[in-house]
């Protein structure tokens, strides 16, 4: 495992050690691509270069990973939410750089907010979280690292695709004695007017079926990233990251009665600043301070009442927090190491909503939370052990009761304590294979939306308790060479018993309330096999997820958890070759997903689906330009994640890119 330097890139030496600025950390490099954080096990790293070369969107890239699932309600650019190992989207922790984002407002990170040009790498930690997270989320952790400045360079891409989709991205790096930085902007628009088979509300009548165009499904995104880093001294560094996104889109509603005028907009700004210092004191410790601020504003507008009744609601969220991390290498020898991690964090988030048609201000709700955790990472010969444990304390309250008239949510001021712990072992007798195992207790505090977020159809529940889960996992990684073919593989199994799961329980035809009703068991396996030979690469991915509702509730107990396909297979073949001064990359992928129940009662099934995609990329190095042409959903299969929200059929995507490098100053 490698240590993280926030200031300069780590360089892998020939002997497998990783050289950091001013520090040499010895240790065996993990099989496959290494994660940057300490203590995670089931890690998949997708570099920014891979993303840009082989994917049109971050959501599409992550959807292919084992153990990951992305839920969508539309085409390119539409909101995309990540689930890991059968988790809900709220059960995935989000890191931007080294800062854990406190999204206590209940609005998860939209993967479509992330511009590809501004991404340095994405790390997906399934299950066990790294020590730097300071907690154990139930599903896993997504870490997004923004692109670093690298000398003076500039990039630009322009793309167009089916259903009126256009995208432009620009980015530039600058460097100097002060440090370096990268700034990028992304603009995307899409009409989203793909065809689908409309059946009205009459599944038993075929005579009224007809093809229809998805209307009011347009979207417009404008976002950007900024990444600055520098050093105050050889031992101290700083970074500033900004991820901003604005979205304005139609709210087409369920296809059975599409809304033609309803709109939705959201603006979210995330700012993270970190400072770090190495070689502190005699213990040679490293200290990091990460401060983050998140602001979000959203508006739903259905003034005509196309989706039920007229309403226009806004929500404002402002939050921020600070976390300090101390990393102390108590023992640092060639054959043994022991490092302690201590983390203390505090956050506060406030949300407030208003209904503009009735001029009703909803109460503001406030959460103040803090957590402390301690972790240790030890290495002895081929063995590595990681332990972490900690507690969280959250205090939430409604701060303005003047207009508060819900008959259901009795406001309460309360403090929710919760704890987590994890123990992980890794045995790596040789460089090319390892085995690891982990036990952990994970948790998630209810967010403000779940506790106080009364809306037109959803009622908050201030009495909610934290979700908890106990889980175990076992994994093995290996790589070998079979003649000219390099083969890598990973196999993992995991089991989770979750309690107090927070679910929306229907109270009436148009009302639902968050309740702690769920207990569930989730068993899964993930496998990846990849082979490389002379420019040809093949990948085979598999995910199995067996879930059972164990809530004891009539109608649900013993059923499969909704929207968790039992099996997924994915395959990729890619051939890269040089054609004179051009380099070409030809690829094709196939993803198969088993049918899944949409509802907790296991009555409604989304059928199994197969999605094929193919593309070609031509690029030159001098000048550095590229052309991408890809076709998604080649067979034009009718697919959907949620009933009522058809996804796009066959989609063409053409992208032109340009990169200019003025050299490193």
């Amino acid at each position: 495992m490698v240590a993280l330097s926030a200031a300069q890139p780590a360089v892998a030496s020939e002997d497998g050690a990783v050289v950091l600025p001013g520090k040499r950390v010895k240790g065996k490099r993990p099989v496959g691509k290494g994660a940057e954080l300490d203590g995670g096990q089931a890690v998949t790293v997708v570099t920014g270069q891979e993303l840009r070369e082989h994917h049109a969107e971050l959501a599409e890239a992550l959807a292919q990973l084992p153990g990951a699932q992305v839920l969508r309600t539309g085409g390119v650019g539409s909101p995309a939410l990540l689930s890991l190992r059968g988790s809900t989207v709220e059960q995935v922790a989000i890191l931007l750089g080294d800062a854990v984002l406190d999204l206590a407002d209940g609005a998860p990170l939209d993967l479509s907010d992330v511009p590809l040009l501004g991404v340095d790498r994405v790390e997906i930690y399934r299950g066990l979280a790294p020590l730097q997270v300071g907690s154990q989320p139930l599903g896993g952790t997504l870490r997004l690292t923004l692109r670093r400045g690298a000398g003076s360079s500039a990039q630009a891409t322009a793309a167009m695709g089916s259903y009126g989709t256009h995208q432009g991205e620009v980015g530039a790096s600058v460097g100097g004695e002060w440090g370096d930085g990268y700034a990028g902007l992304r603009w995307l628009e899409s009409t989203g007017n793909f065809p689908y088979l409309a059946r009205g509300g009459t599944a038993y009548v075929r005579s009224d079926d007809h093809m229809r165009t998805r209307a009011n499904n347009d979207l417009h995104r404008l976002g950007g990233v900024l990444s600055l880093q520098g050093r105050w001294s050889p031992d101290s560094a700083w970074t500033v990251h900004w991820l901003g996104s604005g979205l304005e889109q139609g709210a087409p509603g369920a296809a059975v009665f599409p809304a033609l005028h309803a709109r939705y907009s959201q603006n979210r700004q995330i700012l993270v600043a970190t400072a770090s210092r190495d070689h502190l004191g005699r213990l040679d410790a490293r200290a990091e301070l990460a401060i983050h601020a998140v602001g979000r504003w959203s508006e739903v507008e259905d003034t005509l009442g196309e989706m039920g009744f007229p309403w226009r609601a806004t929500q404002r969220m402002l939050g921020g927090g600070a976390a300090g991390l101390l990393r102390v290498p108590l023992v640092d020898r060639d054959d043994r190491q022991l490092t302690l991690h201590g983390r203390v964090g505090a956050q506060a988030t406030q949300i407030q909503g208003a209904e503009l048609l009735s001029h009703t201000d909803r109460p503001a709700s406030l959460r103040q939370s803090g957590q402390a955790s301690l972790g240790a990472l030890g290495r002895l010969g081929a063995w590595q052990a990681t332990w972490s444990g900690g507690g969280e304390l959250a205090h939430q309250q409604v701060t303005d009761l003047r207009q508060y008239a819900s008959s259901y949510s009795q406001p309460r001021q309360d403090t929710l304590p919760a704890w987590h712990t994890a123990l992980a072992l890794r045995w790596q007798p040789q460089d090319h294979w390892l085995v690891d195992a982990a036990l952990r207790r994970a948790l998630r505090l209810p967010n403000l939306q779940e506790m106080f977020g009364d809306s037109a159809t959803v009622i908050g529940n201030p009495q909610l308790l934290s979700e908890t889960a106990s889980s175990a996992e076992l994994g093995a990684l290996g790589k070998t060479r079979m003649g000219p073919i390099a083969v890598t593989g990973e196999l993992r199994g995991h089991a989770t018993w979750a309690e107090n799961l927070i679910q929306l329980v229907g109270l009436g035809p148009h009302q639902a309330m968050y309740q702690n009703v769920g207990q569930a068991r989730l068993l899964g396996a993930e496998a990846t096999l990849a082979a490389d030979w002379n420019g040809l690469r093949g990948e085979l991915r598999h995910t199995t997820l067996v879930t059972r509702d164990q809530s004891g509730r009539v109608g649900y107990d013993g059923k499969v958890l909704p929207m968790r396909p039992r099996t997924r297979w994915g395959g990729l073949a890619r051939w890269q070759t040089d054609l004179g001064s051009w380099r070409s990359s030809l690829w094709a992928s196939l993803d198969w997903q088993a049918g899944a129940f949409v509802d907790a009662a296991n009555l409604v099934v989304t059928p199994a689906r197969t999605l094929a995609a193919a593309g070609i990329r031509l690029s030159t190095s001098q000048p550095s330009i590229f052309v991408d042409l890809r076709v998604d959903n080649v067979t034009n299969a009718a697919v959907y994640d949620l009933i009522g929200y058809p996804l796009a059929g066959r989609t063409l995507w053409l992208q032109l890119g340009w990169h200019a490098d003025a050299g490193t100053p």
Partner: protein, 436 residues
């Protein structure tokens, strides 16, 4: 069932489990048996007022189960059920139709919001109102087959509530929602009662109830609910504000069934939110009014069972039976036993914890006698009285030994609790009952 609550955290669930465990222990002790498990002390005279004759009674009991995300229809065959039999297990056809019966990307076969229509169809067919899909589904209870499906959406979420049969070629449908983009086709404005040709699906006529309700706040929805058709069509109006954040006093619209002309709109102030109507006897109607859920502190006072004298040319409400203070507001579930007595359910609450309660209510004296409490608040849903077999059926969701409770009304007026029946074992509990 509207605005239902369930225990909001495990502590309350544990509390329920503890209570159940204590009940089981108490049941093992002589003299400690819960009286609602045996003969209930409440009694009345003149049960049902008809000579029991199962052969003349309903043959099929349709149960709609659901959780407002999915729905499931099951049918109980009452052919083997004799008078007074609340112990045998009748034949059951579970989940003959459900939300996933037909796979579709754009709509469920049955939405999560399905109720039974008060429609008397030939051959004992049942008619489901799929409010979420704005469609009507005629079901053959013998085979479970869908005989007919008709959309009443006119391209918008019209939210149909009920259907009555005017003649074999005309159904009258109440539609609660208003179309914000009306005008693209005929009779597409909503908030109305429309006449429908079920064979073609064509709308034949429309009564605009928004226009009929005069003298009220501008923009109010009349919001027609369940209906009764005698010589005239009686339609309770829930009178919602356009954003559904409030309700005006309830009304009862009286229409001529032939041409759907509104003859009269009867004000029912201070009562609000009347959602069910039934015939007590020829010339007398019963309205079940819940009170406004948007006005929780005043809901109890706004809730009542209202008796309407419809025997004259100008129908008038003649009696109000308020909701029991120790119970809660009346739910929509009422079942007429005879000219004097009805069964009705009062709604429970979570805060304070109060279960639903089944009552016998005298329409003559206004007396309200408690019969049985639900295991948890908002547990009861779906009520049907079977005069020919002298029993009352009551749906209770989240009940593990069967979601259909049965109560026997003995010849002496005593009430005994029968063995529950599971309409859909292991599946979603019953929310709606209708017998044909």
């Amino acid at each position: 069932m509207t605005a239902q609550n369930f225990p909001s955290n495990p502590t309350q669930w544990y509390g329920l489990h503890l209570r159940l465990a204590l009940c089981l222990v108490a049941a093992a002790l002589p003299g400690c048996f819960d009286d609602t498990q045996g003969v209930v002390q409440a009694s009345y005279s003149g049960p049902f007022g008809v000579a029991p004759d199962p052969a003349q009674g309903a043959r099929f009991l349709g149960a709609v189960g659901g959780d407002y995300k999915s729905s499931v229809v099951s049918v109980i065959d009452l052919a083997s059920v004799a008078e007074g039999d609340v112990q045998s297990t009748p034949a059951r056809h579970s989940a003959v139709l459900h939300s996933g019966s037909q796979v579709g990307a754009t709509a469920l076969a049955l939405s999560g919001d399905v109720v039974w229509a008060n429609a008397d169809l030939p051959d004992r067919h049942l008619l489901a109102v799929d409010r979420g899909n704005a469609a009507l589904i005629e079901l053959n209870p013998r085979t479970g087959a869908v005989v007919r499906q008709v959309s009443v959406s006119t391209s918008f979420y019209s939210n149909p509530q009920d259907v009555v049969v005017r003649d074999p070629h005309t159904w009258l449908v109440s539609r609660m929602n208003r179309n914000p983009l009306a005008g693209s086709q005929v009779f597409d404005a909503g908030d109305d009662v429309v006449a429908l040709d079920p064979s073609s699906g064509a709308l034949l006529a429309r009564a605009d109830l928004s226009q009929a309700v005069t003298g009220t706040e501008a923009g109010l929805l009349a919001a027609p609910q369940r209906m009764v058709l005698t010589d005239r069509l009686y339609v309770p109006l829930a009178m919602f504000k356009p954003n559904f954040k409030g309700q005006d006093h309830a009304r009862l619209a009286v229409l001529r069934p032939d041409d759907l002309q509104v003859e009269q709109v009867i004000g029912l102030a201070p009562i609000r939110n009347c959602v069910n109507i039934q015939v007590i006897t020829p010339g007398r109607l019963l309205l079940a009014c819940q009170g406004s859920f948007q006005m929780p502190t005043e809901q109890l006072a706004q809730s009542a069972l209202v008796v309407v004298d419809s025997s004259s040319a100008t129908p008038q409400p003649v009696k109000w039976i308020g909701a029991p203070p120790q119970g809660g507001p009346w739910s929509r579930d009422v079942a007429v036993l005879d000219a004097q007595w009805v069964a009705a359910v009062s709604l429970g609450s979570l805060q304070p914890n109060r279960p639903d309660r089944l009552w016998l209510v005298s329409l003559v004296t206004g007396e309200r006698r408690p019969v049985q409490d639900s295991a948890q608040p908002f547990g009861y849903s779906g009520l049907w009285a079977d005069p020919q077999r002298r029993c009352v059926w009551l749906g209770e969701t989240q009940r593990k030994d069967g979601d259909l409770l049965r109560f026997l009304i003995t010849a002496t007026g005593q009430i005994a609790v029968g063995a529950p029946v599971a309409a859909n074992p292991g599946g979603l509990g019953t929310l709606e009952l209708m017998a044909r």
